[in-house]
């Protein structure tokens, strides 16, 4: 099992390398530090959200509400700013809101035992609607430069790197990691082993909400605007990166290193297609085909033994 995961990650790394070499052959400017570092912040929020999403997907769940939580956090930040709060207070309010939304997801999932896909499909509408409602869909901007600077640079990417390192250690060696995998593979067995499954799951959703709050604030800083349509559709992008990184959508399998590679491949492919062909339509096709292709190839290479449970 271990070996299969490693195969997937090695495959992704090879794909990434091949891609960069091909890009360098056609247009060396693209692989230059100047361009790459200029483009990197664009994947920041997605990367940040991919960390909790990986953990949640490993437990067999999913959180589709992250984009909407981002919007709500962003809007609350903006409203606070408009009513004259200091930036720190606005940020605290936004993060608290994110945490609260995540906790609410966790509560619904564990208290009612409803599948997270359904819960977060509902809260995806509800949170975004809340953001639209409280802001009356009006954007707020004109934030101080000191705040905007947080968003321009590397905050999100740096935070992602730190979380990935810590998370990888936890998944590999810590009791929490063991439990995250175990819940994804057999929730009943996990419960019967005395694990507090509900508390761990609820914490992961809360963590996801918190990160969505952080992403909402960072996005607000990067784009100098707080509004209710922030993060629309980002949940699909995050899920794409996570499954591209080899995390099993049925739970129980996946790593954060894989997710990081998945994010890198997604980002570079998209940027390179945009760079070379300037065609957003082409990007749709390429990214979709990449997702199917990479996972298909992985499936063919690491063919599961016939008769094994497919999950679902």
């Amino acid at each position: 099992m271990r070996r299969l995961i490693a195969t997937h990650e090695a495959g992704l790394a090879a794909l990434l390398a091949a891609l960069l070499v091909a890009a360098w052959r056609t247009d060396p400017a693209f692989v230059s530090w100047r361009v790459q570092s200029g483009l990197l912040p664009q994947i920041g929020e997605t990367a940040l959200l991919a960390v909790p999403m990986t953990l949640i997907v490993i437990t067999g769940g999913i959180d589709l509400s992250v984009g909407s939580v981002m919007a709500l956090a962003s809007v609350l930040f903006g409203l606070g700013f408009r009513s004259g709060w200091p930036v720190e207070a606005c940020a605290a309010a936004a993060l608290a809101a994110g945490l609260l939304c995540g906790a609410l997801n966790g509560w619904f999932v564990t208290r009612f035992r409803v599948h997270p896909l359904i819960v977060t499909l509902g809260t995806m509408s509800a949170f975004r609607g809340l953001a639209e409602g409280v802001s009356a869909a009006r954007p707020v901007s004109g934030f101080p430069d000191t705040f905007l600077r947080i968003g321009q640079g590397w905050t999100a990417v740096g935070l992602f790197a730190a979380l990935t390192l810590a998370g990888t250690a936890v998944l590999a060696r810590h009791v929490l990691g063991r439990r995250i995998y175990g819940i994804g593979l057999g929730e009943s067995a996990a419960r019967a082993s005395g694990w507090n499954v509900d508390r761990l799951k609820a914490s992961l959703y809360a963590f996801s909400g918190l990160m969505a709050g952080v992403a909402g604030v960072l996005f607000t800083a990067r784009r100098n605007t707080a509004k209710a349509d922030v993060g629309a559709g980002i949940e699909l992008e995050v899920v794409t990166a996570v499954v591209l990184g080899g995390t099993s959508i049925f739970g129980g399998r996946g790593t954060l290193v894989g997710t990081a590679l998945g994010l890198a491949v997604l980002h570079e492919v998209r940027q390179f297609v945009g760079w070379r062909w300037s065609n957003d339509v082409l990007n749709l096709v390429v990214v979709g085909a990449l997702l199917i292709g990479a996972v298909t190839l992985n499936g063919v290479i690491s063919r599961r033994p016939a008769g094994s449970v497919e999950g679902g």
């Binding site: 060696r173 009791v175 175990g182 067995a189 019967a192 005395g194 507090n196």
Partner: protein
């Protein structure tokens, strides 16, 4: 008698493991042929080949003299019906669908639903079972699910019925009904291939017995020509003492005290006590509420009324952590859902319930984990390709031992056992019993539910019987006898 089926040099390996090796077997028309062997001997593998679910890597199967067609469907059409060790079961579908899926009777393009219901009801009646046909079978207790699976084989016109440990989840009454059915089928000329670790069943039913050991056939012999000891000798290759000579340790202070515990729909006003050093059995028919009582004590279910204390600490209803903290461990009934994570290594499974013992500040030490798992595997004689092999690659009985190891790992104060030796072979069963006794001798309290009456009688110091969710009586060791126990667990009118 004419020959129905014969295998020639049948072999099958999984990776490096030789599960079957050059097995020659023949089954005659209208005989009950028993297949015996230790856990992992290759019985289930042989059966899966015979019903087309698995391809042999060597040898061939002849059906009425011609090669057996490939695929489950064709084998079924040829007249082979099988109940697997993990029986075919669609938990979300009702009993009728479960019985007929895969070979549904039709009227035109549509299902003949009326015929399906009628024939399901008939088959279940023949098995002496009356269960709600419209309920999803996942909501039924294990034993009833097993009966549905049996019905699935019965309603079919088959010439060979294969039963892989059909009674492992059944209690006395269902077992009797099943035997009656098997005998009736034999009279009709149907052959039966029967796998069981309960040797008394084998002698009660079988005409001939084939013994497998380590994937090879040891012998095929008429049941009349051997006895229990002879059979065991062939299976194990050594002598196994009859019943464990349990020297009842002096019971200490009470560990578990349950007062007036109730869970509506499962059990009512249950009060009992288990002392340190004592092994208490929990007897009852299917649905008597044994599993639910154990799960309630463990915290998997929230009891409504009453009180349960372990070592003086009151257990919080519905809280596993609170029970764990009090030193309770459970070996659950449904090993695939609750007991194991099949794709995980044996070592990870063994340490699942006690990660604290192999970690510091939450960081797991792989070395310590493996070492302790290896010690457990040796202790319980778990047959596996090392503790890093996934649990799913073990035979059914060995998987059960892994579940036991998991429960024993921490040395609990109170050990709750639910069908502890389901699918475990005689030799290993003896080991398990001794282990449980040793644990008790070291001061633990044990509460064990089992449908295997001889097991309860051999293992326990005291047996509490449940009938319809209420305690119907209690037997001390001096009062132990099968009739006495039966009269406590069977419905009152039937006990006469």
């Amino acid at each position: 008698m004419a020959e129905l089926l014969r295998t020639e040099g049948l072999g099958r390996s999984f990776g490096g493991v030789r599960a079957l090796d050059g097995v020659n077997l023949d089954i005659a028309e209208g005989e009950v042929h028993a297949l015996c062997g230790e856990n992992g001997a290759g019985k289930s593998t042989l059966i899966r080949i015979l019903c087309g679910a698995l391809r042999p890597s060597a040898g061939r199967v002849l059906w009425l003299g011609a090669p057996l067609p490939e695929g489950v469907h064709r084998c079924e059409a040829a007249g082979i019906a099988a109940i697997h060790q993990e029986p075919v079961s669609f938990p979300d579908l009702d009993a009728v669908d479960n019985v007929f899926l895969g070979w549904e009777p039709r009227r035109g393009p549509l299902l003949d639903r009326r015929a399906m219901v009628r024939r399901t009801r008939e088959a279940l009646r023949e098995l002496g079972e009356d269960l709600p046909l419209a309920r999803p079978v996942g909501e039924l207790p294990m034993a009833q699910r097993q009966m549905v699976a049996l019905a699935r084989a019965l309603v079919r016109e088959c010439r060979l019925l294969i039963l892989d440990e059909p009674t492992a989840a059944l209690s006395a009454r269902e077992t009797d009904a099943l035997f009656a059915v098997v005998r009736r089928m034999r009279e009709r000329g149907v052959s039966v291939l029967y796998v069981s670790h309960r040797l008394d069943e084998v002698f009660a039913l079988a005409d001939r017995i084939t013994v497998l050991r380590d994937g090879r056939k040891v012998d095929t012999l008429p049941a009349r020509e051997t006895d229990r000891d002879g059979l065991i000798r062939r299976m194990v290759g050594r002598e196994v003492p009859e019943a464990p000579s349990t020297e009842t340790a002096a019971a200490g202070g009470p560990v578990l005290r349950v007062e007036g515990l109730s869970l509506p729909g499962a059990f009512e006003g249950v009060s009992l006590e288990v002392r340190s050093g004592e092994v208490v059995g929990l007897a009852g028919l299917v649905g008597a509420g044994r599993t639910e009582l154990l799960e309630a004590i463990y915290g998997l279910r929230r009891f409504r009324e009453g009180k349960a204390t372990v070592g003086g600490r009151a257990l919080r209803p519905g809280s596993v952590p609170s029970s764990l903290a009090a030193g309770v461990a459970l070996v659950p009934e449904d090993r695939h859902r609750q007991g194991l994570i099949p794709s995980w290594p044996v070592s990870w499974n063994v340490s699942m319930a006690s990660l604290g013992a192999v970690s510091r500040l939450g960081w797991i030490s792989p070395g310590a984990e493996r070492a302790r798992a290896e010690a457990m595997a040796r202790l319980l004689q778990i047959k596996c390709a090392g503790v890093r092999a996934p649990a799913s690659s073990l035979s059914g009985g060995n998987q059960q031992k892994v579940v036991l190891a998991k429960g024993l790992f921490l040395g609990p104060r109170l050990l709750l056992l639910d069908e502890p030796t389901r699918g475990v072979d005689v030799g290993a069963k003896h080991e398990v019993h001794q282990l449980v006794r040793r644990l008790a001798a070291e001061g633990a309290a044990v509460l064990a539910a089992s449908s295997d009456m001889p097991e309860l009688l051999a293992l326990c110091d005291r047996i509490v019987a449940l009938r319809g969710g209420r305690i119907s009586g209690e037997l001390r060791r001096s009062e132990f006898s099968e009739p006495a126990l039966l009269s406590l667990i069977l419905p009152e009118e039937g006990a006469a």
